[in-house]
């Protein structure tokens, strides 16, 4: 009778059979690790720009608006989805890394490369966790129930692990892939660029500069000439992209285009728009070119390449305040919409890749890290920053020579904020620079200069996310961050 009860699953593998299987099964397991990136990037990293005075989202079900206003609670879904989605990918990478060494894969290079890819993704996800939460449980083995009670590990220790994973990954990964069917996989450049970012975020300036320089010296990457164009579907996987999350219709889709155009989410604020320099390289307060009647003329060309403005062309027509109803501005970057062509993208029908690491950021990291590590900026610092400003479609004047370290720091901070707008970095940047409590405390404005809402940033609390209360409910050994 027992035989009648022996029934095996027909569409799933058991762990016993799977890992003794073929190369294809290992390849699939690695694909499963990459798969976890999709939920992460779309729903949380770019969104965090809304928690800075760069953007506003009227309707943020995920809690960015509450973070911006300083009213968020530890139950915010932004905190829990960030935590859970990161550990989802970490768990899959850990499982893969547990088995790959004993895998029966004949080609050693392939095996090394696969291992490097998984290490990169694990490091990437931990880099977000430490940036947002500080100390987090450091788990490096395949998920097991006993890990459920593990407490948080000191941030420094996690960072050391990230760096070591990235060094390993860099040594195992190729600089590029010859086959087009491998585009999107992690490369040596990706590992090094991430390493530069992590070192920069941790103010390890000299090491960060070195890591960034290594990426630059690889000779693989360059700025894409067209600032608007590097983030358009026609130019996906261009020379500026170091690592991105790949989407592909009809199976891998997101809703960013729909939300930006139809819902005016990611609505840029006047607080940001006013920071774009005039074409003479001066601020709107200082430049003679600034005409309050025509405030959007003669501005840093990146302004119109990034932001849709009432009265200017947008998606084949002239943008109106009822279209850009939230702030009078709309985000063009990270969407498919251009000025002259009309496109209708319905909900959940976008497949534009989400860029995680790009050469422009590496140059900015190099400039900032080097400037901080020196007593005064040298020519390398100028070179890096002016390369960004000198992009073919930007062509902003070079920075004035002879800036002090502090002046250069100001310039780099502004350059970084403008160049990387919308890509989610500013939420990390203004916290590590300590400027968040100043910039996000007070009113934010729409294009007419009217106050939309008043922001609040509590320096005793808001430099870190709350550990999600649902996680503390599950694991009482998790401590909460201060103030939450």
């Amino acid at each position: 009778c027992n035989d009648l009860l022996d029934i095996d699953p027909t569409s799933q593998y058991s762990t016993d059979t799977f890992w003794s299987g073929s190369d294809e099964q290992y390849a699939a397991a690695l694909v499963g690790v990459y798969n976890s990136l999709m939920s992460n990037y779309l729903y949380f990293n770019g969104e965090l720009e809304q928690a800075t005075p760069n953007e506003i989202s009227y309707n943020s079900a995920n809690g960015t608006r509450e973070i911006a206003l300083g009213t968020a609670l530890s139950t915010s879904s932004m905190f829990s989805s960030c935590w859970a989605n990161s550990y989802k990918g970490i768990g899959r990478a850990n499982t893969f890394l547990d088995y790959i060494d004993d895998a029966d894969i004949t080609d050693e290079d392939t095996k090394n490369q696969m291992k490097g890819e998984a290490l990169f993704i694990r490091a990437l996800l931990y880099s977000y966790l430490v940036d947002y939460f500080g100390d987090v449980p450091l788990i490096l083995e395949a998920p097991a129930s006993e890990q459920e009670t593990w407490p948080r590990t000191a941030k420094d220790e996690v960072v050391e692990q990230i760096l070591s994973d990235l060094d390993d990954a860099a040594s195992l990964l190729p600089t590029s892939y010859s086959s087009s069917s491998d585009i999107g996989r992690a490369t040596q450049g990706a590992a090094l660029a991430l390493k530069a970012r992590v070192l920069l975020y941790n103010e390890r300036w000299a090491e960060a500069a070195t890591a960034a320089k290594t990426v630059i010296d690889l000779g693989v990457y360059d700025l894409f000439p067209d600032y608007r164009g590097f983030y358009l579907p026609d130019n996906e996987n261009n020379e500026e992209v170091i690592f991105d999350v790949q989407y592909q219709s009809p199976d891998f889709l997101h809703r960013r285009d729909y939300e930006c155009y139809n819902l005016n989410r990611w609505a840029p604020l006047k607080n940001l728009v006013d920071l774009y320099e005039m074409t003479d390289g001066k601020s709107i307060d200082e430049s003679e070119l600034y005409d309050p009647e025509n405030p959007y003329e003669n501005r840093d060309p990146r302004l119109h390449q990034t932001i849709a403005i009432v009265g200017y062309p947008y998606n084949g027509k002239t943008a109106t305040s009822s279209l850009l109803y939230e702030s009078g501005y709309g985000l063009k970057k990270l969407t498919v919409y251009t000025d002259d062509e009309t496109q209708t993208i319905s909900d959940n029908n976008s497949d534009l890749n989400y860029i995680v690491l790009r050469y422009g950021e590496v140059l900015l990291t190099y400039a900032e890290a080097l400037n901080e590590s020196l007593s005064a900026p040298n020519s390398e610092v100028y070179w890096a920053i002016n390369t960004i400003r000198g992009r073919e479609t930007v062509e902003m004047p070079e920075l004035e020579a002879g800036l002090t370290k502090e002046e250069m720091r100001e310039a780099i901070h502004l350059e970084r904020r403008i160049e990387l707008v919308g890509e989610g970095q500013f939420y990390s940047d203004f916290r590590r620079w300590g400027t968040a409590e100043e910039l996000n405390n007070g009113p934010v404005y729409n294009y007419l200069g009217e106050v939309i809402e008043t922001r609040s940033f509590n320096p005793d609390r808001d430099y870190l996310f709350a550990v999600p209360s649902s996680e503390i409910d599950e694991n009482e050994n998790l401590t909460q961050n201060p103030g939450w």
């Binding site: 029934i7 990459y34 206003l69 097991a144 319905s346 106050v451 209360s469």
Partner: protein, 1083 residues
């Protein structure tokens, strides 16, 4: 149940004839009728027969005594002496008369016999009898099942009318129990039953409705979507953390209640305690519902029954929303200002424009009430036709049903065809075979975007959201509402495209019953329950036009990832059941009655599906897969699980006084790993019928007095398949360079050591019938402990964000008391019946390894009910800034008028550590009562149901004010805090999205009491007098009017309190009140 054609094997030594007759009565459904003066039943005889019919046995017993027998209708066997009275011939004459019951209803089929002879007749369908050549001094004996036998002297009359009294004592009502039947008076477990009589002519649309009112059952009838039975049935509370649905068996084979035509039900038994249910051990932990479908009767002419009803349904419990567009805009602006926002959504210019515009241009400036637009009274009609009857060797019953029901929500409805046939054949003197086919075919239409979305969008649409342009095209609004930027036109979402389901289910079963030597009976049944459905959803591309600019855009159907597309699904299930039993019964020394049953069962459940999606249609008119072209997507899967069980039962009965029963079951389930698969589930029960004792003879007003006790355990394995193996899912894909790569990942963590969850139930019961059972009373106490509860445990996300394992965790107690009291009587031609029951149940987690499971706003913790609310405690409303400053820190936005939360741990700030356990979603008690009145041919029946002490926590549109651009109920306008209204019931009016971190934090302030008392059913019927019917040869014609859910008493205002028990929103299909009228006709 057996007929008199059943072959019996008997072996009696030195036994009274009366005991032999009683034994025959017990094993067949024959009833003997005789005069003690004529038939000497105290005679002691030896009798040994093998496989002989009742007739043959009677011949052996009585032939030499000059006693003959006559088989009447209803298996009544009349024993009389052969000898004609040879005495002096007296004057004879003809006599006739009418036999009625106390309500003056004619009684057909009453046996009328001249005392001391075998001469007699039966009353005709009009209750009349005629006898010829009756001696003028003769005495007539009138007898009828269920009535007291009456003797009347003719005394020379030519007409003799008689009224028979009901005899309730000794009605041997038989109820279905596991793998057999049992006399109701001999039950030792907790079994509730409903006979066909109680179910008759109630125009219920779903079979589950017939269970309402069964003591100890909680039946929640949520929503009235045609084709979807929103019923939740709970027997004695929530025992497990998994499925709490009882096992439903139709004629012994598992079959869903909602696929059964209510008019095919003959009777229902509900097995509540472990002792009754444990014979179905492996899946009986939540109780068992046994449904018996109608069968034919042997030696009965074909009867034809036709019944129908026609009526309509109307929504109940709909919210009182602000629908005036100008009022809404002003209120919402005010709410935003109240919440501290500096800019508002609707400008003064817009509001002025609207005020002026709506006077002249209702197309651009509409004033729509969307509840009126989307909901309408909906017709329902039902027809049932049945043929039944039988010969001596075969019985049959064939029925067909048709129901056509429109839904109250636009574009919802169902057509249902049902079929039921029961045939049984006595092939020879040892073999009986039979077959049952029950089937349903149903077409269900639902709104294209689905009920949930259309309900949501209907609640979401404001008065200013337009329906049509003047030229009839769909209209789009010109008003932007942040949070509700995209107007999803409810009419389009409901009407355009389609969402259809065609489903059929058939239960085909066959049985064989073989009489073996030595009183052994072997019974085997094979049942196949096959279900499949075809689902087709076509989402069209519909343009709508902005009322001012006429700019066209496409209506968003809320279906993710796809434009115009078709999705079809083919789903199949095949469940096979095979069981066989061997029974043996024997009576020793006249008083010791023993019955043994052993058996085994095997059940296998297989299922599978295909889903296909395609886009690229050229228009909205062709909607087949082949008419599409691009973005094809397919998926499919299949799975199976199986159960094997061995069981045995022993019944012992001493002189009908002491009753004892023991069950043992040994079960295996494929859902557990080899080694953890098998479980033992024993049970015992005993009963003592005090009224049978001699010492009770002094208390003649006690007609029934029985005490019962039982104890036993049951198993539960209702978890997903393969939860004991760690699995790797495929289909976790990713794209590199534009092409999809196959991917795989672990997504769930499983625990290989899981095994049976065990429920142990102790039950004490007392049944009493007083004053000829005019008053009946029953009380049950139970304690149900579920151990090794199988539950999906959440893992901390740091463990790879995996779905947690199913584990055997902890124990839960359900303790309860069920009391039923009834009284029936008649005063002249007026009779009445009052019956009420109340069921208390307390649910408590008793062991959870000192752990607690917190999930959202619910907690499961030792000492509290499962899934209790775990939320902040609100302590009124802040009246001043001063009060805020002197209280624990709430949030930076807190202002006067906001809710004040209690700082439980006194740390000066309100956070998750301040949560308390506050109520749960399980009723403290449920109750029901019916009052039935009858006067002459009129009958009025009512049924009330109530639920007390149940908390619900609704959120979302309607439940929460201005939820993402939506409206607010009138209550907020009248009862929210303002400076002038400091004692208001509700806090200051704010929008949800601006207050989710303060006013709308999860707190007990928002718990709603969903207690209610509802008139579920009221029916007035009139039976056409038999005297009229007999002229058209009809046996019965009853006409009726019926109303369901006509009255509700509840504190809950915004939605029907009888909503899905655990849902925390109002987007489910609304409940309805139904008015119907119809008739039942029988030939």
């Amino acid at each position: 149940v057996y007929s008199q054609s059943t072959k019996l094997s008997l072996d009696f030594q030195g036994t009274k004839i009366s005991d032999i007759l009683m034994e025959i009565e017990n094993t067949t459904d024959c009833r003997f009728f005789y005069q003690r003066e004529q038939v000497d039943v105290d005679r002691i005889v030896d009798l040994k027969v093998t496989e002989e019919s009742v007739g043959e046995i009677l011949d052996k017993l009585f032939q030499e005594q000059g006693i003959s027998y006559k088989i009447m209708d209803d298996n009544l066997i009349l024993l009389t002496t052969n000898k004609e009275q040879a005495g002096t011939q007296q004057t004879t004459g003809n006599i006739k008369g009418l036999v009625t019951d106390k309500t003056n209803q004619p009684l057909p089929g009453v046996t009328v016999v001249i005392k001391g002879t075998s001469n007699g007749t039966l009353t005709d369908p009009n209750g009349e009898y005629h006898l010829k050549n009756v001696p003028s001094d003769a005495v007539l004996v009138f007898s009828f099942i269920g009535m007291k036998t009456s003797e009347k002297e003719i005394a020379g009359q030519a007409v003799l009318d008689v009224t028979l009294e009901e005899e309730t004592v000794g009605i041997e009502e038989v109820v279905a129990v596991g793998y057999g039947v049992q006399k109701k008076v001999n039950l030792t477990g907790a079994v509730a039953s409903l006979s066909g009589e109680e179910l008759k002519s109630r125009p219920i649309t779903q079979a589950s409705q017939s269970l309402q009112g069964v003591s100890g059952l909680y039946v929640n009838q949520a929503g009235a979507q045609p084709g979807f039975d929103g019923t939740t049935i709970r027997i004695r509370g929530i025992g497990t953390l998994n499925s709490n649905d009882p096992l439903v068996l139709v004629d012994g084979v598992e079959y869903p209640l909602d696929a059964l035509n209510p008019s095919d039900i003959e009777s229902i038994s509900v097995l509540k305690d472990a002792a009754s249910a444990s014979i179905y051990g492996n899946r009986a932990a939540n109780g068992v519902i046994l449904v018996t479908t109608k069968k034919g009767k042997s030696n009965e002419k074909t009867s034809i029954e036709y019944g129908n009803y026609f009526g309509f349904q109307r929504t109940i419990g709909m919210p009182d929303l602000i629908t005036d567009p100008v009022e809404f805009m002003e209120l919402r602006n005010q709410a935003q200002i109240n919440a501290g926002k500096t800019s508002v959504d609707y400008s003064d210019d817009l509001i002025e424009e609207y005020k002026a515009g709506r006077l002249t241009d209702p197309y651009t400036y509409p004033n729509n009430n969307w509840l009126d637009i989307m909901f309408d009274d909906a017709p329902i009609q039902n027809h049932d036709l049945r043929f039944s009857g039988g010969s001596e060797k075969a019985t049959y019953s064939l029925s067909m049903g048709y129901q056509d029901q429109d839904g109250v929500l636009m574009s919802s409805g169902s057509h249902r065809f049902t079929l039921n046939s029961n045939i049984s054949i006595q092939a020879n003197n040892w073999l009986k075979v039979g077959a049952n086919v029950t089937g349903i075919r149903q077409y269900i239409q639902a709104p294209t975007a689905g009920v949930y979305n259309v309900m949501q969008m209907t609640f979401k649409a404001q008065g200013f959201h337009p329906t049509y342009l003047e030229d009839g095209r769909y209209a789009n609004t010109f008003i932007k509402t942040p949070g509700h930027n995209v107007y999803r036109h409810p009419i389009v979402l409901a009407k355009e495209g389609h969402r259809d389901r065609e489903q059929q289910r058939a239960l085909v079963s066959m049985f064989a019953e073989i009489k073996l030597p030595a009183n052994l009976t072997y019974y085997a049944k094979l049942g196949v329950n096959s279900y499949n459905y075809f689902y087709s959803e076509f989402v069209p591309e519909i343009e709508y036009y902005q009322v001012k600019t006429l700019e066209a855009s496409t209506v968003d159907f809320y279906t993710s990832n796809r434009n115009r597309h078709l999705t079809t699904e083919d789903d199949r299930e095949l469940n096979t059941t095979l069981f066989h039993t061997l029974t043996w019964d024997q009576t020793f020394n006249d008083k010791h009655k023993l019955k043994l049953l052993v058996g085994s069962s095997y059940e296998k459940f297989t299922s599978g599906y295909h889903i296909a999606t395609i886009e690229g249609f050229l228009g909205n008119d062709l909607t087949e897969l082949d008419a599409g072209s691009t973005n094809k997507d397919v998926s499919g899967d299949s799975s199976a699980n199986a159960l094997v069980g061995f069981f045995g039962r022993l019944n012992y009965d001493f002189d009908q006084k002491f009753l004892f029963e023991a069950n043992l079951r040994y079960d295996g389930s494929s859902r557990f790993a080899d080694g953890n698969r098998w479980g033992w589930f024993p049970s015992f029960s005993t009963g003592y019928r005090l009224e049978q004792e001699n010492f009770m003879a002094d208390l003649p007003w006690v007609s029934l007095m029985k005490v019962r006790a039982s104890y036993g355990s049951l198993g539960n394995q209702e978890i997903g398949n393969f939860r004991y193996i760690n699995l790797i899912d495929t289909g976790i894909e990713y794209s590199f360079g534009g092409s999809t790569n196959a991917g795989a990942a672990v997504t769930a963590y499983n625990d290989p050591s899981i095994t049976w969850e065990t429920t142990t139930i102790s039950n004490l019961g007392l049944d009493a019938g007083l004053f000829q059972n005019k008053v009946n009373f029953s009380v049950e106490w139970y304690k149900k402990r579920t151990k090794n509860i199988l539950r999906s445990v959440t893992l901390a996300s740091q463990v790879g964000d995996l779905t947690g394992p199913v584990q055997n965790i902890g124990a839960v107690d359900n303790t309860g008391l069920e009391i039923t009291v009834g009284h029936r009587n008649h005063i002249g031609k007026f009779s009445y019946e009052v019956q009420g029951s109340i069921n208390f149940n307390k649910n408590k987690v008793v062991d959870l390894n000192d752990d607690e499971i917190i999930s959202g706003k619910y907690i499961t913790k030792e000492g509290y009910a499962i899934d209790s609310y775990y939320i902040l405690e609100a302590d009124g409303i802040f009246q001043s800034q001063d009060e805020i400053d002197n209280s624990a820190y709430q949030n930076s936005t807190t202002k006067p008028g906001y809710l004040k939360y209690v700082d439980q741990n006194n740390d000066g700030t309100i956070d998750d550590d301040d949560r308390i356990i506050a109520g749960d979603a399980q009723p403290d008690f449920t109750y029901s009562f019916n009052i039935n009145l009858q006067y002459r041919n009129f009958a009025l029946t009512t049924f009330f149901q109530g639920v007390q002490g149940i908390d619900t926590y609704p959120q979302g549109i309607v439940a929460t004010p201005f939820w993402y651009g939506t409206s607010v109920t009138r209550e907020w306008v009248n009862n929210s805090w303002t400076e002038d209204r400091p004692n208001a019931k509700l806090p200051i009016m704010t929008t949800y999205e601006l207050s989710s971190s303060d006013n709308f934090r999860n707190s007990n302030f928002w718990l709603k009491d969903a207690s209610y008392l509802r008139l579920k059913n009221i029916q007035l019927s009139y039976s056409i007098p038999k005297s009229i019917l007999s002229r058209v040869n009809a046996k019965d014609l009853t006409i009726f009017v019926n109303g369901q859910n006509l009255l509700t008493f509840s504190k809950m205002k915004d939605f029907d309190p009888e909503k899905p028990i655990t849902s925390d929103h109002y987007y489910s299909y609304p409940s309805v009140k139904t008015f119907t009228a119809g008739f039942n006709l029988k030939f």
